[in-house]
Every structure is written in structure tokens, then in C-alpha cells.
Symmetry: C2
Subunit: 323 residues, 2 copies
């Protein structure tokens, strides 16, 4: 089956919007939406690095869309569509390629996303794929990483650490009754798109939690030339993570693992203290729990405490080594 047949069979059924021109053209065409900016984000994945060779291909595809959707969520953007490039490896047979396309289709429907176009190539290496995703936001209203001010509270959505434990579970390094649940959460993040209006109304800055809560919070502070105080005791954790924490020797160290582990795809944001309770209430009405976990500071240091006691940070764990 050549490239044209393959695109026709796998991807044309996913590209039914006018923008895609049936994947029969060299390009897609996006009409301007007056009063709106286009928010654009990209993520690439490589087999063996970002997913495991035996991960179900439909879940790989859905996670690829969802990590991009998570970026849109943190920017308060409404999902629109995406361009896809795929490098197929010979190990991906037609069944696996079809499963990948099926996963794309499922999440296109779930998130009202359009496939606009892309490119498919072959590689002798591991399978890889890249998505450039588009979202709409009212002109000038994208929530950036910049915008935080000293004194703003730092809040995070949902629970933190399930991504870290989920990766362990997916690798078979974590046993117990919660392993399957955690592995599922790792494989299929839930982008926090329901936060859009709350972020637009209240957040001074936001990012999604992909590198780890502390690293992503620090990215926000660094983008503003500011520092950060985080209280690990306030970290919202799932029942599964709480069960894991209960059997760890050093609770502070274990909380640091959760706060630096990444792959949570929650939203971390900053809000003026006077607005925090309104923000939490508004987010709750939209089905998302927001928890204050720290404070933006004028000095450029990061300090992490656990019930008020300073916790030791190895700065390398933050994925960020320069000021």
C-alpha cells in the first residue's frame, strides 16, 4: 500500500472539514475568525521515549492529541484542529496503523477537533509523530506564562503525582490495587479544558503540568523574573497517591517525587489573592477543583517546605538549571 492509498484509508475519513480540502491539496486553509487569535502549540513523540512499544496504538494517538489539548487548556483556548506528521516504522503493521487512526478519530469526536492535514513518511527507526494544534481565544485574551505578580497565589488543578506513579505502573515498577488506574491516567491524560473561562477571568499566568508541578510553576516565575514558595503539605493527591504516600519511608521526599515527576497534565496558574476564592468557586462550578499550593515571591529563589519545614531541593530535579 503506497502513501496515497494509506492516507486515503487511514486519514481521509478523519479530515471531513472544509479546511482540510479532503487531504487532496498541498495545504489546508483556515479562514480568519474576527475577534479571535489563533493559539498554536506542538508536541512530538518517539516510540521508546514517550511511549512504550507495547502501549496500545489508539491510546498513543489519543495521548498525543491530549498533551497538545492540555497546552491549549492552560492557555484558555478552545480546541479547533491539528496538523499531523507521522513517521511509520516497519514494525507498525496495518492493524497498528489503523488502531492509531481510530484513536485519533475517537478523541477528535470527544474534543470536537478537526484534522487539517499533514505528512506521512517512513523511517527505519522507531515510530514517531508530531502534532501542531490550533485553538481559538478572544483577541489578546490568551493566558500566558508571563503576567504573574509577586504576592499572587499559585494554584493547581485536580491531583498531582498520578503521572509519576502512572509511568511506574505502566513500566511494571509499581504493583498493587491502584496500578491499573494509575497506568490509565498516565496513558490517557484529561486535559483541563473546562477551566477555560475561569482562567480567562482570574488567572494572571498559567501553564500545563507536563514537566512536573515544581518545574512548570518555576517556568511561570522565571518568565516573570520572580520566585516561588511551595508548601508540599498542600499538594492535592489522589486516593491512589495517598495510599502510596502512606507506605513511603520519607514523606517529604516522596512528596517531592510527586511534585517533580511530570506527566500530570493538570493546570498550574497564578491568581491575585483577592480573587482566589472566586476563582476556586468558578472552577468548581465547571467541575474542576483548584488547590492553592504556594505563592509567587519578589525574590527570585524557589523555596519548598513541608508543613513549614524547609525541604531540600536538588535543583536538577526541576528540569531547569539556570536563572
Amino acid at each position: 500500500m503506497d502513501e496515497f492509498d494509506s492516507i486515503a484509508r487511514l486519514f481521509r475519513p478523519l479530515a471531513t472539514s472544509p479546511e482540510a480540502l479532503g487531504l487532496m491539496d498541498d495545504a489546508a486553509v483556515l479562514a480568519a475568525r474576527p475577534g479571535y487569535d489563533l493559539v498554536v502549540t506542538a508536541d512530538a513523540i518517539v516510540e521508546g521515549i514517550h511511549f512504550l512499544p507495547d502501549d496500545p496504538a489508539d491510546l498513543v494517538a489519543r495521548k498525543l492529541l491530549r498533551v497538545n489539548l492540555s497546552d491549549l487548556a492552560a492557555k484558555a483556548a478552545e480546541p479547533y484542529g491539528y496538523m499531523l506528521t507521522v513517521a511509520w516504522s516497519p514494525a507498525w503493521d496495518e492493524a497498528r496503523r489503523s488502531a492509531f487512526a481510530r484513536g485519533l478519530g475517537e478523541d477528535q469526536a470527544a474534543y470536537r477537533l478537526k484534522l487539517f492535514g499533514g505528512d506521512t513518511v517512513s523511517t527505519p527507526g522507531p515510530m514517531s509523530a508530531s502534532v501542531t494544534m490550533f485553538g481559538w481565544v478572544e483577541s489578546g485574551r490568551m493566558v500566558k506564562r508571563s503576567g504573574a505578580r509577586a504576592g499572587d497565589l499559585l494554584l493547581v488543578s485536580g491531583t498531582i503525582g498520578d503521572g509519576y506513579l502512572g509511568l511506574k505502573a505502566a513500566r511494571g515498577e509499581f504493583a498493587g490495587p491502584d496500578a491499573a488506574l494509575l497506568a490509565d491516567r498516565y496513558r490517557l491524560p484529561q486535559p483541563r479544558l473546562a477551566l477555560r473561562n475561569a482562567l480567562k477571568a482570574y488567572a494572571t499566568a498559567a501553564a500545563d503540568v507536563s514537566d512536573g508541578l515544581l518545574a512548570d510553576a518555576l517556568h511561570i516565575c522565571r518568565a516573570n523574573g520572580l520566585g516561588l514558595e511551595v508548601e508540599l503539605g498542600d499538594l492535592p493527591v489522589s486516593v491512589a497517591a495517598a495510599n502510596w504516600l502512606a507506605v513511603q519511608g520519607d514523606r517529604t521526599d516522596a512528596l517531592m517525587d510527586l511534585a517533580t515527576g511530570g506527566d500530570d497534565y493538570e493546570v498550574v496558574c497564578t491568581v491575585h489573592p483577592d480573587c482566589v476564592s472566586d476563582f476556586i468557586g468558578f472552577a468548581h462550578e465547571h467541575g474542576v477543583e483548584m488547590m492553592p499550593v504556594g505563592r509567587v515571591t519578589a525574590h527570585r529563589n524557589i523555596s519548598v517546605s513541608h508543613w513549614g519545614e524547609a525541604a531540600c531541593i536538588e535543583i536538577d530535579r526541576l528540569g531547569w538549571r539556570h536563572g
Copy 2:
């Protein structure tokens, strides 16, 4: 050097436009341009497939931009900017990565392109990269593959076949005084952006010549449910290709090689016969020579002749096997 350092050093100097937010955010933000559509295209490259491991990295980067620019050129779009995802292999040391970034910078300047953002990852496989590129065109004015009508003439820009011979030269399979020139043309295509206004004014349909003149012309005809007659004797060829043709045993077969070889990155388009002379004149004023090489037909067949004698086509050579 971690990902953040690497992005800061290699790519931040290339991302100075407001849209890119200094690569410090999760996303880029593109303001609407009233009265314009955004044209979006994507191409991926894999080392060993689309370029050779010893190709200079700056040329690899520039070709990656130019194959996307060629798509914009065929759509009559004005270049705007791009998203880049790169999967670095361990064999790409800092010097090679820097050369890649330098090549991007050179062609960003040459084509007034902005880097908006992207993603960099590591791969144990061959280096690969993917660009999603954006261009502007007045609302509704993108030149599509659809739009051709029976009786339209088929025209092609510049010369055809240098991409085919250039690949041979780059592989060391082609010797002689023109080898270096042809290899350069293969490594560094010249996107036909100067055709923009002529295409908008006269073309009923257009595509760039990446898969081969016959294949890409056929894509246009198939998108319109039409057929095609091509006269190989009218094929515009370079002096280098003419020299090569002169020493081939079967000239018809050799012309077929040039017409099916791909990688020319010229523009093939269709124009109503009454407008052809105006179109050619307009394109010439913009520095591009357009040559009529065939005609769109109402019957869905493709027929290729050489000085009026039917030439045999193996349909597999067209990269298109279904009607």
C-alpha cells in the same frame, strides 16, 4: 546540555517575533489578519530517507523550510512563519545542531519567515524533523488543486528533471561537469514564490512538483475528475539536463525519467487557453518562465506523447494507482 538550554541557545535567537513569546510559553499566538486566510502545510524529513547522513546540516534545514515554502508558493500564499519539531539523534553533536539552526536562520532571513515555536525531543533512531508552515492569502483566493477545467492548458515553471538528476549526483551516481550544480539544486530547491500574483490572477489550479511532474499534474486532474495529455517534447529542461539527455539511448524513456523523478519544487498549474499568453507574460515579468506542456481533458485518462507519438507509461511511476 538539557532541553531548555538547548532551545535557548539554538532556537530562541530565531524566535524574536511577538507571536513566539520568546519560546517561553506553551504556545504561540497568531493574531487574525482581517481579509486573509491562513494557509497551512506540513512536511517531515527523516535522515537516510529524505536526506543523506553526510549532507551539510544547514542545507538540510534550509531544504526543510523550502519544501514547505514551495507548497505555499503553489497555493499563492505569502510566507508568514512556522512551527518546528525536531527529534535529535545522538549522532547529531552540538556542532551539527548549531549548523542546522544556522541554516534555519539564513532562510528565515531570506524568506522573511518567523519561527513561532515547536518541540525538541531525543530519538535513538535517525534524526527527523517536521515543519508546519503558515502563509497568508487574501480570503478565498488560495489556488487549490481543484478548479481545473477540461481544455485548460497545463504549464510548469522553470525546468523539470534537475531534481531527479540532482539526487543521482548527490548519491555519486552521476558524474560529469554538471554534477555539482545538479546536486546543489537537489539540496537547495528554489521555491517559486515570485509566481504568487500570476497564479492568483490566472491559474485555475496549482500544485508544487515534489512527487514528479506527471504525478503532481495528475493529482490536479484527479482532484477535478479530469484527465491529462502531456507532450514530453515540450518539457523545459536545464542545460545540464539537456547534456544528460543528449547521451541517453532512448530519449523518450529518459524524458519520462525526468517527468516522473520528483524533487523539482517547481509549480505546475492549469490556465484557461485564452489567458495563457497573458499568464506567461505576467510570470515572465516576475522572473519566472512558464512552459505549456499539456492539456486537461474531459476523459479521465492520462496520455503522454513524445513529438506526437504515444509514450508508454507505467502507471506505478506516477505514485498514484487509483482513479
